[in-house]
Symmetry: C2
Subunit: 351 residues, 2 copies
């Protein structure tokens, strides 16, 4: 198929460090090329891809400090897509809502993956307005606020299988690898590790918006002897860190739409100890690749029997459900259905 | 004609205090209704208009502190326009670039008024991309960076003629009425007034981004006895303040795309003393409704002979060139041409 992937321009594809959406687009795009499809990637000019690259900005906007109007390149990208639409069988947007008024009238089938949380009040009138637009959810839970939307499928994110290799043997520590922010609850992770008598290694960035929270509620907890804070880490260090951990602690307190780090851990064979928010029950099979708990006591109890989980089984759930190839095949199924049903899937509705 | 006006959602139409674009849209919309056209205004729900109002947000976004995602209502507005497009002969956008990828494929003729400055580097690739989109400029000078664009016309802004009534007699002061920011050069105004021996009344807001500039370079100048700082003022006070002034000082140091306060002063019969940036030579006829100078000396000299300018002549240039009715008639000429030439004016180009 002739497929267009439309990425945001904020990070390059894949991102240098952080940037969930652009990372998923990178893995999906390369996996589609691998499957033999003709793929065009709309993304910042510093992106690295096996697809044909079309760039509305020479560098990712987050790194381009000279760019005063970040909306202009985003609009340019959409106009490029619009003008080239007739070249594609399907256009896959990862650009939030920005393209939706245009997508209504494109000369190719299109679909949008929503990468963020949808339980925000002011989205309601817009979601109702675009009720006919085909969306893909990244977990079933993500759909909850809008069950009547035109959902084509849930497609879980996937990773290249060699990105984070299997580690057969774990060291004597647990790990916390996400942003430090109130909803990620690093404080819970610190308490769990303390009571389990395990070292906790923390690899996490702290966004400016969360600095006050960190200073007020977290900084003093980090000085405990069982806590090792590693700052922000790169992809290579992440493989080591996750692979060597007895478990990933994921004690979230919000409706996580997906949770990339969960499948990163599983790729290494590392089980995941999580609170049951958002997508967690869809990713974790208790007793097979991790534990779902809702109290510190239950978390400590689970870690005491961590050996009961076979690391090879964790990796097996990854290989079955969370590879980039599986993600790409799922999307191709969606693309084919959209192409066949067009223009039924996103008709030019008139008011 | 069946005309749609599409306003930004940041301020209501017309704005409570500041907000140039939404104010122009308000005057244009009501003047088009007055001329007998069937007008639909897309704007925030707190807008006040004689047209049919369609609102993607109940309140203007700047005042709605509960709104975390200000892009969602803007996208909703564009989708509403798209779905209702078949009801209009022409759709007039005032929403920057946001709508352009969509406008390419609308079922009605469309045109965009650019309200801001265009001499920003990162606009270049986008302007080239949308070279076929019909634009209206608000001054001939505004076009300079993009002479090859599809400019349909220059249409100067206009005001309702009774908004700022004619004052036959001036008091003994001059006035400065715009933001306090480096490019507006209130420091020049203060020096001119001092040397001319005149009181200077300053009605201006200070944006957060200009607070440091104000503290560092302007605050100490404001303590001089000939300076009276009035803060931000409303529409009613503005009529008094501008009408009573011997002259409006407009000593700008940047390419002002239009300069609403210039025609506000002229509406009161108050001549304008300006530096020759941007649109100034298009608005001011030296010796008739003001002076164009490029030094403090020349400015002081001009004010010494302020009586040489007839306040009735200033008002006459306003009535001839800068009323809302004249603006509306100019736009109707553009609309008719677009409707007749469609789809020639903004063809669906393919790459």
């Amino acid at each position: 198929m002739r497929i267009a992937q439309v990425a945001p321009l904020f990070e390059r594809v894949p991102p240098v460090t952080y940037g969930g959406t652009e990372r998923v687009v990178a893995y999906l795009t390369d996996a589609l090329v691998e499957l033999g499809h003709d793929v065009t990637l709309f993304a910042s000019g510093d992106s690295r891809t096996r697809a044909r690259l079309v760039s509305a900005a020479p560098r990712s906007l987050r790194l381009d400090t000279t760019c005063r109007d970040t909306m202009a390149p985003q609009i340019l990208e959409l106009d490029q897509v619009s003008r080239m639409a007739h070249r594609f069988d399907v256009i896959h947007f990862h650009t939030g809502f920005l393209h939706l008024p245009m997508a209504r009238q494109l000369s190719a089938a299109s679909v949008t993956t929503m990468h963020g949380r949808l339980d925000i009040d002011e989205l309601a009138p817009l979601m109702q307005e675009v009720a006919d637009a085909p969306f893909v959810s990244i977990s079933n839970h993500q759909r909850r606020p809008y069950p009547a939307q035109n959902w084509c499928a849930t497609v879980y994110h996937g990773l290249p299988p060699r990105l984070l290799p299997f580690h057969a043997v774990a060291d004597d520590y647990v790990v916390f690898v996400v942003r430090i922010s109130p909803e990620k609850r690093v404080d819970r992770a610190i308490e769990i590790a303390a009571r389990a008598g395990l070292e906790l290694r923390i690899a996490a960035k702290i966004d400016a918006v969360d600095k006050e929270y960190f200073d007020r509620e977290i900084a003093h907890l980090m000085t405990q002897p069982h806590v090792r804070y590693l700052g922000e880490i790169g992809e290579a260090e992440k493989a080591e860190l996750l692979g060597g951990a007895r478990a990933l602690l994921f004690p979230i307190d919000w409706p996580e739409p997906f949770g990339m780090v969960v499948i990163e851990a599983l790729s290494c064979g590392t089980p995941v100890l999580a609170w049951p928010g958002g997508s967690v029950p869809e990713l974790i099979e208790p007793g097979v690749n991790g534990w779902i708990v809702d109290s510190i006591d239950a978390a400590v109890e689970a870690l005491a029997h961590a050996d009961a989980i076979d690391r090879r089984a964790c990796r097996a759930t990854f290989e079955k459900r969370f590879t980039a190839e599986r993600m790409a095949r799922d999307y191709v199924t969606v693309y084919k259905r959209l192409r066949e049903s067009r223009p039924g899937c996103f008709e030019a509705r008139t008011a």
